[in-house]
């Protein structure tokens, strides 16, 4: 116990009313941590328990070519196997980067002429995945329904015969090409994810299927021809099953482009079906050609 010591000189004894200050010290010890719990712990834990705000804002991405220049429209050609007496073959010669005819996949002229439901309800599905491995997630998809437009008609506006009428689709910008179909032309994705990706580029992967409402079949299509389907090694061509698509924030303008591998590209005479910068040939339009990956055996 520490105390203050006071000396009282004798001369002061006779003075009445002397007083000495006595300190009463009291040291407090907390009984529990209630205050700390109430003022800090709970607030901190509450804050931790609340999920961070996820930004679900999506923006529109415009398709672009190899140079990241925005394109106004592009064409999709769908190529199918047809059965002949000596086996299955692509309905177009391998060198021909075009589309099969509706007759090759079971449609009749009446379907084309009358735009029957089973024709018009057939569609291409673009499925986009976040990776190429088996754990990939389907993150976005879009359907492109049958088009009976100029490519499917003759000069007089009549629909072509079933063996001439191509299974092709033209998608265009809603502002610049108002007469085209716009569904599937744009890609809508989260702005936040792209802006915070390295180089502001976000990669997804495209898988293409054709849903035939006439036969009820769904066929998988690659952007690479199968030269000999009888010796298909699926492990080898899996790289071609998905087509790389890059979403990019290009100085404030959101764009995407297809980035085919060397097997998938048709640019500069490549063996594939993707050409976003056509120089000459079939079409001045950028085009995507997809080939059915296996015959509809038993069809």
């Amino acid at each position: 116990m520490t105390v203050n010591k006071y000396k009282i000189p004798i001369r002061d004894i006779n003075i009445s009313g002397s007083s000495i200050n006595l300190n009463l010290n009291l040291d407090f010890s907390p009984v529990d941590n209630t205050e700390l719990i109430k003022t800090k712990l709970i607030d901190d834990e509450k804050e931790k328990s609340i999920n961070p705000i996820i930004d679900y804002k999506k923006v529109r991405f415009f398709p672009s070519d190899n140079n990241w220049d925005i394109i106004r429209k592009f064409k999709i050609n769908m190529n199918f196997f047809t059965e002949k007496s000596n086996g299955y073959f692509y309905s177009n010669p391998p060198s021909y980067n075009g589309a099969s005819a509706y007759g090759d996949i079971g449609f009749r002229f009446d379907d084309l002429f009358c735009r029957t439901d089973r024709l018009m309800s057939s569609f291409i599905r673009f499925n986009y995945y976040d990776s190429t491995d088996s754990t990939s997630n389907l993150i976005y998809s879009t359907n492109i329904y049958t088009q009976i437009l100029n490519d499917q008609k003759n000069d007089y506006g009549f629909v072509l015969s079933k063996n001439e009428c191509p299974v092709s689709f033209i998608l265009g910008d809603s502002t610049l090409e108002p007469d085209t179909v716009h569904e599937g032309f744009y890609f809508y994705w989260f702005q936040d994810l792209v802006d915070n990706s390295p180089n502001k580029e976000y990669v997804v992967y495209l898988e293409v299927t054709y849903q035939n409402a006439e036969s009820g079949q769904s066929t998988l299509h690659y952007s690479r021809k199968t030269v000999n389907y009888n010796t298909i090694n699926f492990n080898q061509i899996n790289d071609n099953r998905l087509l790389k698509v890059v979403l990019k924030n290009d100085d404030g303008i959101y764009k995407y482009r297809f980035e085919p591998n060397s097997q998938q590209t048709a640019f500069n005479g490549g063996p594939g079906g993707i050409n976003l910068n056509p120089q000459s040939g079939l079409s001045d339009l950028p085009y995507l050609t997809f080939w059915q990956i296996e015959p509809n055996i038993g069809n």
Binding site: S29, P30, V31, D32, N33, I37, L41, I42, E45, K46, S49, I50, I53, I54, D55, Y56, K57, V59, R60, R72, N150, D155, Y156, G157, S174, T175, L176, E177, P178, Q191, D251, G252, I253, Y254
Partner: protein
């Protein structure tokens, strides 16, 4: 107890010893442990958390629909532009055909023509649908005036702006330096008789914002009663609004003074509204951009959306988020209002487009500053009274034609451009008693094509067409609202007085606060402040004041549904016939030119039999024709201002006097 004491009794020490009381010191020590913690449970209220996040959020996202109401009544020429450039040629060969008056059609308000059945374009397209009988507008048409067109060049630029500053302007010309800061200038005096008593009325160049019984202070008026009116010492109550026929309520006010007792000095005499002895201030709000370029937003056709005139509506959203944290308005308050600013873009078509090449060729001899532009630079002004001393009259832009009478002063906001970051906006009144601004006049931008504005320089045989388009570029977006109730608080005992509050009993000497909102600290000296609370988002007060909009993904989403009107500057409401005399065959070219005018009505040869000696069909273009005078009639339109040649009437014209024409069988 840790220490042990043994106490030996004295009697045990010696025979003679007796026991004494012994004292054993005993320490009382105390040690303690904290009580063990109990299980703690707390409930997180999702609604409160949502409200908290919403309150703390200063990020805004804007999206919506723009419905453009426009037509091309002010087209350059009634011509069809034809591209005859040879394939693989670098030399453009672009010509034009005149569309005669009887082939001009108005289709849903758009002036143009029906494409002939067999055109080059139809052949190129190789089908029977392209171009044939298609309606084509004269230039500028759809592709330059609507919000959406398919040439890839935006016709207007959208920006988000906020009021950050004020400025003073001089609305009425005067030599005394009197301007808006001195009050609303007076431009006209008149007399109103009520119950056989004469009252004086005064007219202001813009809306005065007054109501009956409002108090006003008069400055620089002339007291004809030798100071019997005590003009400088008193206020006057507004007796009524409007003139004797109750016309022009928003710009004429009446006070109880005999007209013979008072006069005014044009542009120098001013009035100010007074509320509880506090005079109003008048100024122009200025806006600063929060978004800059077309990269900041995306605009697209709004699906199948069309307006009543079948013009496509535009959908838009801003890719760039707008953060208003720390931003203050012109009164130093946190932002309660933003603006959607729409500015006409000169680059609304590809530089190398057929249309641009054609008009640039026509304008090649104009001054270099303008010859490569399609649109004139924007000027800004207000819908003021039609008075030759009033500046900023947007309807009078260009109405200073040489030798014209009257000529209007051409003082405007000039050199406006879509790339500007600061724009002048509306004229407002602010009174510190009310602590709120009242918008008196909205701003308008005026544009015209360079070709029309300088037509006389391009072709000396033609008159300028100086009527342009006007539009209101700034639309308010309410993001917060100030309370209807004015708070008062003393800094001695009131917490949370916002820093934008105003002293009640003395003039405000502090500079306007900036940055994030703060509150005033308590003081020992009493200072009473007044302010309006900024209502929290989602809080609606008893009078319906407040704002409510979605909060999602860490941002406030505000939907804008706006009609954007492109008005004619001065729609001509008066129609008449004029006649021009031509002598043939000497003036054959002039005759043909006049027949191609869009306002051509008919022509006739007076007493044709006596002149030509026959009533058989005569070829008036025959070079051997006997000298013949032909009267050509035109329909002429005129408006309130002298703006040169008018080709089309305003909507106010009675069309019944005009002939109608049906579409031919070809189309």
């Amino acid at each position: 107890m840790e220490e042990k004491y043994k106490v030996l009794l004295n009697k045990e020490k010696s025979v003679k010893s007796v026991n004494k009381t012994s004292h054993v010191p005993v320490n009382l020590q105390n040690s303690s442990n904290l009580l063990p913690l109990s299980d703690e449970q707390t409930v997180v209220n999702s609604y409160e958390q949502f409200e908290k996040e919403r309150r703390e959020c200063n990020t805004y996202r804007f999206y919506g629909i723009l419905n453009t109401m426009a037509s091309n009544g002010l087209y350059n020429e009634n011509i069809r532009i034809i591209d005859e450039t040879l394939p693989n040629s670098n030399t453009p060969n672009i010509t034009s055909n005149i569309i005669s008056a009887n082939s001009i059609f108005v289709n849903d308000g758009w002036y143009g023509y029906f494409e002939p059945p067999d055109t080059d374009e139809a052949q190129i397209q190789n089908d029977n649908e392209s171009s044939r009988c298609q309606f084509k507008t004269f230039d500028p048409g759809y592709e330059r005036l609507l919000m959406i067109d398919d040439d890839g060049k935006q016709n207007y630029l959208l920006k988000i702006t906020y009021p950050f500053d004020t400025r003073d302007i001089n609305l009425v010309e005067n030599n005394n330096g009197t301007s808006l800061k001195d009050g609303l200038q007076i431009i006209e005096k008149g007399e109103v008789s009520i119950n056989n008593r004469k009252y004086v009325y005064f007219k202001t160049p813009i809306n005065h914002g007054l109501n009956n019984e409002d108090e006003i202070k008069l400055y620089n008026f002339i007291d004809n009663t030798n100071n019997g009116l005590y003009l400088s010492e008193r206020t006057f109550a507004v007796t009524k609004l409007g003139d004797e026929k109750n016309n022009n309520l928003s710009r004429i006010f009446v006070i109880d003074v005999n007209p013979s007792d008072i006069d005014f000095n044009l542009g120098v005499s001013t009035i100010k509204r007074v509320i509880d002895d506090v005079e109003s201030e008048y100024y122009v709000r200025r806006l600063k951009c929060l978004t800059q370029s077309e990269k900041d937003y995306d605009i697209y056709p709004a699906s199948y959306g069309v307006n009543y005139f079948d013009d496509r509506e535009a959908g838009f959203y801003f890719k760039k988020d707008v953060d208003v944290e720390g931003l203050r308005d012109n009164l130093g308050r946190p932002l309660s209002e933003l603006f959607l600013t729409i500015v006409k873009n000169d680059n609304d078509s590809n530089y190398s487009s057929v249309s641009n090449v054609f008009w640039r060729d026509k304008q090649k001899n104009l001054p270099s500053k303008i010859k490569n532009r399609f649109w004139t630079r924007i000027v800004g002004g207000y819908e003021t009274e039609q008075n030759v001393n009033v500046n900023y009259n947007i309807r009078a832009v260009g109405s200073n034609y040489p030798n014209g009478d009257p000529n209007y002063p051409q003082n405007y906001y000039e050199n406006l451009d879509e790339s500007n970051e600061i724009f002048d906006n509306d004229i407002v009144e602010y009174n510190e008693t009310l602590l709120s601004e009242i918008v008196l006049e909205q701003l308008y931008h005026r544009i015209n094509t360079v070709y029309r504005d300088n037509l006389n320089l391009i072709d000396s045989n033609k008159k300028d067409k100086r009527e342009g388009y006007i539009y209101n570029p700034h639309s308010p977006i309410k993001i917060r609202e100030f309370s209807n109730y004015i708070e008062e608080g003393d800094t001695q005992n009131t917490l949370n007085i916002p820093d934008y509050s105003h002293l009640k009993f003395s003039a405000q000497t502090e500079s306007l606060p900036t940055g994030v909102l703060r509150t005033r600290e308590l003081t020992k000296v009493s200072k009473v402040y007044r302010w309006r609370d900024l209502l929290e988002i989602g809080f609606i007060d008893g009078n319906g004041g407040g704002v409510e909009y979605p909060f999602e993904s860490g941002a406030h989403y505000i939907y804008i549904d706006k009609n954007f009107y492109l008005f004619r500057q001065d729609p001509p409401c008066y129609v008449d016939f004029t006649v021009q005399d031509v002598t043939l065959p000497a003036e054959k070219d002039k005759f043909l030119t006049l027949l191609g005018e869009p306002t051509f009505y008919d022509y006739n040869v007076e007493d044709i039999i006596s002149i030509l000696g026959t009533n058989a069909p005569v070829n008036l273009l025959d070079p051997n024709l006997q000298t013949t005078s032909v009267d050509i009639r035109f329909i002429t339109y005129s408006g309130e201002y002298e703006l040169g040649e008018r080709d089309t009437p305003g909507g106010c014209v009675d069309y019944s006097s005009l002939q109608k024409q049906s579409i031919t069988d070809d189309c």
